[in-house]
Symmetry: C2
Subunit: 176 residues, 2 copies
């Protein structure tokens, strides 16, 4: 099971990026997005709408106290990974993470990540030690963690499905 | 050489996402970001500031006529890749792309990508056929195209460099 936790969401400033984070989590095979910061109906609706159209069981849930959620999953045996440019290089640590457990909680910061995120994490992991993007980092980390599951995943109960094509858009309607 | 072209940038709505796209391009080894749409001083400054601090020769340039830039690179022998959820799966096409040329121009849409992008591209490529994120798609595509160059890349003339660490932040000051 793969859970993503997005810290410190701010409604206006982060809405699109947090939506991207949620959609990446779903598309790359994670099961759920928790987010802390400001509760955001619009963010939740965007994600629920995508699940409704494109299928699967991906969930989104707002949480006030992110530390208690991290501790809860830690107690359930999940590995806690915090993605940060300061962390260990993912290519050097990913094998160890995969071998330790299939259950991973991935913490994604916004700006000003609290120091507890670094401390609570079993692994602070970097997709390269350069500044870039929590969305990019999450996508590459999930790609590595699941060995490219985004290319094979099938979503149950989808209304629409894309048929890969080199030109144009081929969308198959599966149900209303 | 790897060039990224971001289409239809809008100053308010896309600023953070386009910044992420630019930073991903740089961190994963691309040489330059072109962007069309609205010219955005703030976007350009953010990218230039990161290059100034963290090194390398990454460039950003606004262009009015994106089609002529694509045609120019096509004439120079670049492969044109357009990242889209409707495209061929990257894992099935990446080997062919790598074998054809080291020079790739990657087109990244915003909303409402013009049909010319699909037509001008040699390859329309999907990082999975689900809706997610142009930032996530770019990061994973560059990771695959460069075989994880983001983990080994060194940026010349950097003022700061991170020493990977499992707890906390270790930043080495290389020069003022």
């Amino acid at each position: 099971m793969i859970i993503v936790l997005r810290l410190r969401h701010r409604i206006i400033r982060d809405q699109r990026l947090s939506t991207h984070v949620g959609l990446i989590a779903r598309a790359f095979g994670a099961d759920k997005l928790y987010y802390s910061g400001q509760k955001d109906e619009h963010l939740e609706k965007s994600i629920v709408h995508v699940v409704d159209t494109w299928g699967g069981n991906f969930k989104i849930e707002y949480i006030k106290n992110w530390k208690s959620v991290v501790k809860e999953y830690k107690n359930k045996g999940f590995i806690i990974v915090h993605l940060t440019m300061y962390g260990l290089l993912a290519n050097e640590i990913i094998k160890k993470i995969k071998e330790t457990s299939d259950n991973v909680l991935i913490i994604i910061g916004g700006e000003k990540v609290p120091s507890e995120a670094y401390e609570l994490a079993d692994y602070n992991v970097a997709i390269g030690n350069q500044p870039h993007s929590e969305a990019g980092a999450l996508a590459v980390f999930l790609h590595m963690l699941t060995d490219g599951k985004e290319f094979n995943i099938e979503f149950e109960d989808a209304k629409l499905k894309i048929i890969p094509s080199n030109k144009g858009k081929i969308v198959k309607k599966l149900k209303d």
